[in-house]
Symmetry: C2
Subunit: 110 residues, 2 copies
């Protein structure tokens, strides 16, 4: 499969700049959602699917594979969950929740 690690080229970008790689991955459909849904603890494949509006197993598996390769997610007998790195990333994503709430309110007023 294609390389996704920082330092390598991604989807046409010639820089390989890590943030590009990150955005490239996070910009794939369902990736943000999957990371988000793991925030309450580890989930097995089917439960994770359920949390993600029954995303197709094809896509879920593809995303999990990528997320594992990048070191954000791992898998054990309790199911899928964050690595230390993934937890750190998820913590950053969590701040968007509050931001989005404010955003929604500001849109209501306009």
């Amino acid at each position: 499969m294609d390389q996704k690690k920082p330092g390598t080229r991604v989807r046409g970008s010639t820089t390989g700049r890590p943030v590009m790689v990150l955005f490239d991955v996070l910009g794939q459909r369902w990736t943000l959602r999957i990371l988000w849904e793991l925030r309450h603890g580890r989930l097995n494949f089917r439960d994770l699917r359920g949390r993600c509006d029954d995303i197709s197993p094809t896509v879920l598996n593809a995303r999990l594979k990528t997320l594992r390769e990048l070191g954000f997610v791992d898998h054990d007998t309790d199911g899928y969950g964050y690595t230390a790195l993934g937890a750190d990333l998820a913590k950053k994503l969590a701040t968007f929740d509050r931001w989005a709430e404010n955003w929604a309110q500001s849109l209501d007023k306009s």
Copy 2:
């Protein structure tokens, strides 16, 4: 076109929770990249395209339309650029740059 504002349903999600809407939008290909490339100032359509690896105008236009509807981007004689809201979001995205650098280094060591 389909609704994207917070409070409405998005891509099967029945919650309409703002962060879901946000992730849904950011999770579309090129959206993060476009927001990222505007960080140095306003750009006209063609220059923005150039910055985004010559993304197809069809997609760029679709993304800009969404970003404008959501109040993240606007358009004037100087081209496309952030709204106040968009600048705030971009500021949050900018923190991922540093994070990704560290991530890249930690991957190198492993």
